[in-house]
């Protein structure tokens, strides 16, 4: 019996290691490739033994800064994502609170409408939205990448279900003390709803940080383009230099990976929530 257990344990670890290497190899290829001279990246792509660079060089990194405005892309990505996340947290949580706790005419059918809007993906409305912002003269700006994405039906729904699950007693006590809805929301409800704020922030951040379709449609100048578009343009910018592209990739993903490592628990929790709530 014990021997059988050891073998089954070993088998689990073996399988996991095989899968782990599939996840690690492309990442290692990018990381190590970013330190290699360009011709070696492609030449050694197939040799797992020569994944490690013979000598480390920062040359590719210098190249990236010389060839494209990397810091501009980075700033744009951070700025756009942060505005959407922060604006979204405020606007959607307020609306959800109104749906969950306040009495007002039209509430119930508007809630139904919000739930229905959840199934419309950006892709389904991208074309008329593109037309709309063209008419508004918003193309090629920051706000065309921010404003349409602040209000979010799924975020409202996540906040709504969370607020419903909060005990009413706290709010009742504050109401008896004479606090109005604003005070109650900001002083009592919001501080007790940190998990849902974290979930919504992370899910929105992940979507926006990686967004390619919309920025591709509505921007054309480097000044407002975010990182995903940056790497797409960089890839198509001749001469094709894999070392440079990998250096770009490493710099692009490192900040998010750091945040992920620090707040791993929250990331995993947030994604798990989508399964329960969706």
């Amino acid at each position: 019996m014990r021997g059988k257990q050891v073998i089954s344990k070993l088998f689990v670890y073996l399988l996991l290691t095989v899968f782990a290497s599939m996840f690690l190899v492309p990442v290692a290829m990018m990381l190590f490739g970013s330190f290699k001279p360009d011709d070696q990246v492609l030449a050694q792509a197939g040799h797992l033994g020569s994944l490690l660079p013979a000598e480390f060089s920062w040359h590719n990194y210098q190249d990236v800064f010389a060839r494209v405005p990397f810091l501009r892309y980075l700033f744009n990505s951070v700025f756009i994502s942060l505005c959407i996340v922060a604006g979204g947290l405020l606007v959607n949580s307020l609306a959800a609170y109104a749906f969950a706790r306040l009495q007002w005419p039209g509430r119930d059918w508007l809630l139904l409408l919000v739930v229905a809007l959840m199934i419309i993906p950006l892709e389904a409305i991208a074309v008329p939205l593109f037309y709309e912002v063209t008419l508004l003269g918003w193309r090629d700006t920051y706000w065309v990448q921010i404003i349409p994405f602040i209000a979010n039906a799924f975020s409202i729904y996540l906040f709504y279900t969370f607020f419903l699950s909060l005990p009413r007693e706290l709010e009742e006590a504050a109401r008896i003390d004479g606090a109005g809805p604003w005070r109650i929301f900001f002083a009592i409800v919001a501080p007790n709803a940190k998990p849902v704020f974290a979930t919504v922030a992370i899910l929105n951040f992940l979507t926006q940080w990686g967004a390619l379709l919309w920025p591709l449609m509505v921007t054309h100048s480097e000044a407002v383009r975010p990182l995903p578009l940056g790497i797409a343009t960089f890839y198509s910018l001749p001469p094709l230099q894999w070392g440079d592209i990998f250096a770009f990739g490493v710099m692009m993903v490192t900040p998010v990976l750091l945040i992920f490592v620090l707040f791993q628990h929250w990331f995993v929790q947030s994604v798990a929530t989508t399964g329960v709530k969706g």
Binding site: F23, G46, A151, F260
Partner: protein, 302 residues
């Protein structure tokens, strides 16, 4: 007294509207309005910068796209992609979740590792995988397959091969997305009450019987959800195609969204592109309704 209460009610209702207004306004302007517009526009001849007057065209945009070889190829590719990716990715996610759920050391590290690509933007993943699929015996995947088959593998240019390009994009997508599904299934696995397994063990059920009779039925809703999300994602496919193949070779990897963006953006044919996104939305809606029916069916049984 009642009048004062009425007054307060009215004030509170106004305040509630104020709470909800910014979000409702945003949803109206940037989701509902464009959605309604997309249906209306799809029945016209709207084209950016066109000198022709705007006309109602009935279903002719739809007739055109359904006789357009590229769009039909796109529909076929999306469906094929879904047929391949949904079972593979769900199956792999389930396998990984089951492995990680074992009470062994180091599982947290594996979980983070498998989840890691989820925080990678798809555009970056696509670029990195172009090199994995590099043509010639030097390419990583070609080399690997050569080693596995003891040299009998003929090196291919995966992304420029009409047979291999779509599978290559599928593999890339699974690599990036499987961690997301795994985490959802893992949470569902951990929600299964231990008593069920203990009772089964008392009854003498082996591992496989426990899996089939307890784990799978208990995971049913989570699996249905994961299948739904992955299917919809399959029809949204765009980033990988844009970067890895531009729809080629010979429309072998073009997708509905890729065609729509090209029509709207490349040739300014907003009406045609709108018709395509209406078709896309109809597919999403059908998939969602199907999932709802399947889930509800289960609730009735319970």
């Amino acid at each position: 007294m009642t009048s004062a209460g009425h007054q307060a009610d009215k004030r509170n209702a106004r305040l509630a509207w104020l709470f909800a207004l910014p979000a409702l306004l945003g949803l109206f302007c940037f989701v509902l309005l464009p959605f309604v517009l997309s249906i209306i526009i799809s029945f016209t001849n709207l084209r950016l910068g066109s000198p022709l007057p705007l006309e109602f065209m009935g279903f002719s945009q739809y007739q055109r796209i359904f006789t357009d070889q590229a769009f039909l190829a796109a529909l076929r590719n999306n469906s094929l992609f879904a047929l391949v990716v949904v079972p593979l990715q769900t199956g792999l996610a389930l396998l990984l979740a089951l492995l990680i759920n074992r009470p062994l050391r180091g599982m947290a590290i594996f979980r983070s590792l498998f989840f890691m690509p989820v925080v990678f933007p798809l555009s970056l993943v696509a670029v990195v995988w172009i090199l994995v699929f590099a043509p010639g015996p030097q390419g990583l995947l070609n080399q690997l397959l050569g080693t596995i088959t003891l040299g009998s593998w003929q090196a291919r240019d995966f992304l420029h091969d009409s047979v291999w390009a779509l599978p290559a994009i599928s593999l890339t997508s699974i690599w990036q997305g499987v961690g997301f599904q795994m985490v959802i299934l893992l949470a569902a696995l951990q929600g299964i009450p231990h008593e069920l397994y203990e009772a089964a063990r008392v009854d003498g059920a082996n591992r496989w019987q426990q899996f089939v009779c307890i784990t799978l039925p208990q995971l049913r809703n989570a699996i249905i959800f994961v299948v739904l999300v992955t299917t919809i994602l399959a029809f949204r496919l765009f980033d990988q195609v844009q970067i890895m193949t531009q729809g080629g070779p010979n429309n072998a990897t073009t997708t509905v969204m890729y065609e729509a963006v090209n029509s709207a953006f490349g040739s300014q044919q907003v009406a045609r592109a709108s018709a395509m996104t209406v078709v896309f939305f109809t597919i999403v809606l059908l998939i969602t309704l199907l999932q709802r029916t399947v889930s509800r069916h289960e609730r009735v049984i319970e």
